[in-house]
Each structure stands twice: as C-alpha cells, then as structure tokens.
Amino acid sequence: MEFFVISLLNGISYGLLLFLLSSGLTLIFSMMGVLNFAHASFYMLGAYFAYAIASKIGFWPALVLAPLLIVVVGALVERFGLRTVHKYGHVAELLFTFGLAYLIEEAVKLVWGQSAVPYRIPQELDGPLFQVFSSVFPKYRAFMMLVSVLMLVTMYLVLTRTRIGLVIQAALTHPQMVEALGHNVQRVFMMVFAGGAALAGIAGVIGGNAFVTSPSMAASVGTIVFVVAVVGGMGSLAGAFIASLLIGLLQTFAVTIDSSLADLFGLIGLHVTSATPLSSVWKLSVSQMAPVMPYLLMVVMMIVRPRGLMGTREG
C-alpha cells in the first residue's frame, strides 16, 4: 500500500513535468504547424538562465525572470528565424529548428562549460513534505506538481476565456479572415511561439535543479517530448496531458514489477533456464523494460491509432 501510494505520487509528478515540457511543443505545432526540434533546447536554456539568475539574486526571482527571458529568446527566434524560412515550407522550418538545437547546445557549452553546473533546489523547498507510512514525499516534487498544474490551468483559461485566446484560435483555422479583421496574425504567431518556448523554459527552471543541469539535458528529453506529442495526438493539448500522465505512471509502475515472461511461463509449468532458446529475452524483467515503455507505447499507438489519443489530424 505504502509503496503503491508513493509510486502513484511519483508517477503523477513525473507525468505533470512531462506535460509542462511537451505542452509547448504541442501548442506550437497546433497553432503554427511547426514541428519544433529545438523545443528541448528551450528547456535547457530555461535551466541555465535560472541557474545564472538564482546564483545572483535567488531562486524565486529566477522562477519568474528565466521564463521571461525565454519569451524574449523565443520571440527573436520566431521573428528573425522562423518567419524568414516560413515561405520555403515546412521542410525549411524543420531544418531550421533542427540546426537551432545544435546552435543552442554549443552556445550553452561556450558560456557555461561542458560539465554540469551546481544549480540547486532552494533551501526552503528542500526536505520532506509529508510521510506515507515510512516513505517520504519531498517538498520539491509537490512544488513541481503545483507549478505544472498552475500553468495548465492558466493556459486553458487564456486559450478559451480571453480575447487573445479567441484570436489565437481563430488565427489557427482562418488566418486570412483574422487578418482581414485587422489583427496582426504574424504577431500572434510570434506570441504563440514565444509562449510555447516559455513553457519549456519553466519546465527547465523547475526540472534543472531536480535533475542535472548539463549541456546534454536537452538531448536527454528531446525524444520523450515527441513521444508525448505523438501518443497524445499531434496538436492536442488535452491529449498531451493524458499522454504525459499515462507515460509517467506507466514508467513508474513498470519499474516496480520484477517479473518477467519467464516467470509467466513458470506458472504454466514451463521453466526457462539458460539453455532455453532466447532465454535472455524471456528473462528480461518488466522493470528492465520500464524506460523503453513510452517508446513501445508510441509504436503501438502508431499502429492502432495513428492520429494519437485525441489528435484530429490523420497520420
């Protein structure tokens, strides 16, 4: 029971962070049709900016300032990069963001060096929050959950309840009409891109100190964000939310299961020894497979439901 509760909490908190990470990607894709390969790089930049700011004036200002800086970076990237290559089609945009990811990584290495930097959890958030029997749940993980949920709610309200959200949604389906009504569609796109990047930036601010802030951190989450986007359905925020939680829980609970196919065979009287053909495959435990689960899920999803859980586009 204790183990189950703590695993559930772990899974949900990881899933929420995943959502924060990938929601920006989904947002940008659904609004602009741009598959942003540099998305994870904004996550990394968020962590590094937060580290730089936190070491000068503390974590709390960094929590606000770092995402704002990312907004500026994102806006500049859209204004002077993406908008220029936009007229050459999606391939050019794809290649541009792909190259940008490398550029950002090298820039980070130049400025902050190749090794990890000591970006730490603030003192007041370090420590256990509550106890589940004898296991403890750390404060910082709860804080991560809180920030993720707050961002989720804010995003939902902005998109559905505000004027600006309505313009954004309209620009998505009827850009010409929106332009004819006197709205600056280009600027809307710039805002969406900057906002999407900032979401990844916030994930970086709160994920960078929980995990490790190093130049390889972008590459380490680069694939999982795409898995979330694909499983949830390209361009669907709700889908991304469900997919994130699903992946978080799946991965966490898979780690806890030590059984393998060999054990299953044992139940029906077939005993696997090292002499059995393919014994190493049968002896693979579920926990060993846990980190591969999201990818497995993606492959299955591609086969049975190519548009993802909540996606609207085919394939």
């Binding site: 204790e2 183990f3 703590i6 695993s7 772990n10 899974g11 908190s13 990881y14 962070l17 060096g113 190749q114 090794s115 990890a116 930097v117 000591p118 730490r120 256990p128 296991s135 403890v136 750390p138 910082y140 993980r141 929980a210 995990f211 490790v212 190093s214 390889s216 590459a219 380490s220 989450v221 999982i224 991965q251 966490t252 609970f253 780690v255 806890t256 926990s287 060993q288 846990a290 980190p291 591969v292």
Partner: protein
C-alpha cells in the same frame, strides 16, 4: 631527370634524418578519446592530466633527455572513429597511443593495434589504456602491446567487497546498474564475491536500466527504500549516478552507496550535499590519502593552479612514469624495446608502487575506498569541483588484496 632523382633522394634522406632526430628527442603520444559530446568534459579533464604530467616529466627530465608531447584526437566515444584515428596517428609517425573511456573502444583499439603491429614490423605501436576496465582486455583478449594502467573492474569489486565484508552492519545489498556489458559485470561479480566473503548478506535487488535514458530515478529510489537495503552497489557513472543519489536522498533512502565512478567529472557537482556521508568509491587514488607521496600534492596543486580543475586521472602519471623509466633504461624510444622493458616494471606513482604485471600487462597497485564528506582542511584538504565536499580516504588496500588470476596467454614477439 637524374638531377631530379638525386634531389628527391637528398630530400628523402634529409627528411628521414629530421624524423630520426625528432623522434630521439620527442616522443609523441596520441590521445585518442572523447573530447566532445556527452562525456566531453571528462575526456578533456583527462587530456589535461596527460598534458600536465608530460610537462612535468619534461621539466624534471624523467626520461633522460627524451621529451613527451601529447597529440589529441577526438574519437567521439566511437570504436569505428577510433580505428580511423589510430591509422591517422600511425600515418603521422606516432608510436604511442593512449585511450581510456569505454571498454568497447578499448577492445577495438587493442585488437587493431595488435593487427597493425603484426602487419607493420618496425613500426610497432604501444597502447596505454588508462581507464577501460573490461577484464577481458587482460584475460581472454589480452595482447602484448596493450598496457592497462587502471585496475580492472573485477579487481575493484574484489577490493570493494573486501572492505564491505568487514562491516557487520551490512545485511541487505541492492544492486542497480546500467544495462550493458559493464553493468552486468558489476552485478555478477558483486553477487559472486559477496557470496564468497559474506554468505549471510542478502541481495535484495538486482536492477538494470538503460544507459543515460532515465530522467526520473524516483521509482528506483522508492524500490530501494521498500527493499530495506542498507547498502547499494552500483557501476553507474555520469548523470545516471548523480540522479540516482539525488532521487535517493529525496525518497529518504539511508543506504550507503558503493560506486566506481562517483569522483569523475560532473558527478560531484550534481550530487553535492545529497551524497554527503553516504557515497563511497573504490579507485586507485584518494586525493586526501595521508600516505600519498609528496608528489601527489605537488601535481594536484600545480594542476589546479594551471587549469582551475581537479586532478584525478592518476593513471596518466603512472603511464608517463612507466614510459620514462623504460626509455631511460633502454636508452631507446623504440616501442619494441620499451614494451619489453615495461613488462614487470615497478614505478613510484601517486598512490604508491605500481607494478605492470608481465603475464597480462595489468597494473597492480594499492586501491582506496573513500567517502564523500564536507572538506574540513585536515582529513579532507582537497574538495572537488569547488563543492566544498571532498573524498575522505577510509581505507587503503594494498595491491595484493585486489589481485586476480589471469587466463591470458600472452603471445610475445620473438
């Protein structure tokens, strides 16, 4: 035409002369290792260690007039790339190479050097391995031209379990490793050796996870916690190790961690206070070992001053010391003579006497177990990566306590 020919002959002779003079004075060592990417920071630190030690050797004239020069090549941690670079180094007339990160690279190089030397008599190359620890390299796949300066992973496990077995508080051990050959080796030997030394110790977990893929280690930490383990043995390195320790601290895991690589670049910064008092490593050198010879402090201080970085790749010192002594003794820089001289050679390194065992070219040396604690200026003078924490040496195990038999059938050139 005749004139042309004589001119060319003259040029050839002049070039040959220039080469032989140059090689008599300067031995170039090709450093073939990763200088970019995931492990780039580590590879760069190790390159600097080699450069610094060769500079010291040149200044203090260890090799009787011969100078050393390091030539860096970036292999991007790829075995294929390393073989290309080996040929490039050979084309440049370099006769000594060194490599360390990744046994997959090491095994490929060991094999390639052996073949190259068989095909190019008179141009032999010596391979100094400073950190690839796969036991196979000095056992089933041993080779005359390969010299391992680090202790192999079986030796480290031997030392680690000997130390651990003396602690009566150890009752439940949890194994967690990266899912590839090295991780499986660590898990297998840990179980074997513990069974031999302390059959009463219970192995309460044996987990594998993919290399550098796991972001959130909290499920593993909860699992360790739930198992009631008091000790964790892990071969993890890089962010896999730092994340495991951080997640453990958050989940309230109170077990001690016994590691191989907690002192390598990046891990100390990432684990910081989370590892204090809990994380140990087994290795050939402790920065704060009281019995370290005075050179150790000189090298560490000098390195810190020059590069503002920590010196821990002591194998570089051992390697240059071995080469220097062999060159001085044989009065030659010819790898054939140097290799022969290095067999069974003993040199003073920064952890004591290191002997290059003749039967398999495996260095035998004292090993230390050290704990990550707050630097206090006395027991722990040197911190690492400016974290304010450093390694307190708990035990120095003499070379004999880690010795392993070898199955190596060394083929020596006539």
């Amino acid at each position: 035409m005749n004139k042309m020919r004589s001119l060319m002959a003259g040029a050839t002779i002049a070039f040959a002369l220039a080469c032989s003079i140059a090689s008599a004075e300067t031995v170039r060592i090709a450093y073939i290792d990763t200088l970019s990417g995931l492990m780039g920071a580590l590879g760069n630190n190790e390159l600097k260690s080699w450069q610094y030690v060769t500079e010291v050797a040149n200044q203090q004239d260890w090799a009787g007039g011969t100078k050393f020069e390091m030539v860096p090549f970036d292999n991007k941690l790829s075995p294929q790339q390393s073989l290309t670079l080996l040929n490039e180094a050979a084309d440049q007339g370099i006769r000594y190479i060194t490599q360390g990160n990744g046994s997959s690279v090491g095994l490929a190089l060991e094999d390639a050097v052996s073949k190259y030397n068989a095909r190019n008599p008179g141009k032999e190359i010596i391979y100094l391995n400073f950190a690839a620890v796969d036991p196979a390299m000095t056992n089933a796949r041993c080779d005359y031209w390969h010299f391992r300066l680090d202790a192999n992973s079986d030796m480290k496990m031997e030392a680690l379990t000997t130390f651990l077995a003396k602690d009566p508080n150890v009752k439940k051990v949890y194994l967690i490793d990266q899912d590839y050959s090295f991780g499986h080796d660590v898990s297998r030997t840990a179980q074997e050796y513990l069974k031999r030394k302390r059959p009463d110790i219970q192995i309460v977990g044996d987990d594998f996870h993919p290399l550098a893929q796991v972001k959130d280690f909290s499920p593993y930490a909860s699992k360790i916690k739930a198992s009631g383990a008091d000790t964790v043995i892990t071969g993890n390195w890089g962010s896999d190790l730092a994340l495991l320790i951080k997640a453990g601290k958050d989940a309230g895991v109170t077990a001690n961690y016994y590691t191989y690589y907690a002192s390598t670049t990046g891990v100390p910064t990432a684990m910081g206070a989370a590892g204090a008092g809990r994380v140990r490593y087994v290795g050939y050198m402790g920065a704060n070992t009281a019995s370290n010879p005075p050179q150790a402090n000189q090298i560490m201080d000098g390195f810190k001053k020059k590069y503002d970085d920590d010196f821990f790749e002591m194998a570089a010192y051992t390697g240059v010391a071995l080469l220097s002594k062999a060159i001085k003794d044989t009065k030659s820089t010819d790898p054939v003579k140097v290799a022969k001289a290095m067999e069974g050679m003993k040199v003073q390194s920064l952890n004591g006497i290191v002997e290059m065992r003749a039967s398999d070219h495996q260095a035998e040396q004292p090993l230390v177990i050290a704990t990550w604690v707050k630097a206090d200026g006395k027991d722990v003078k040197y911190d690492q990566e400016k974290t304010g924490y450093g390694w307190r040496t708990d035990a120095v195990l003499d070379a004999s306590s880690a010795v392993q038999p070898t199955t190596c059938q060394m083929k020596r050139p006539n």
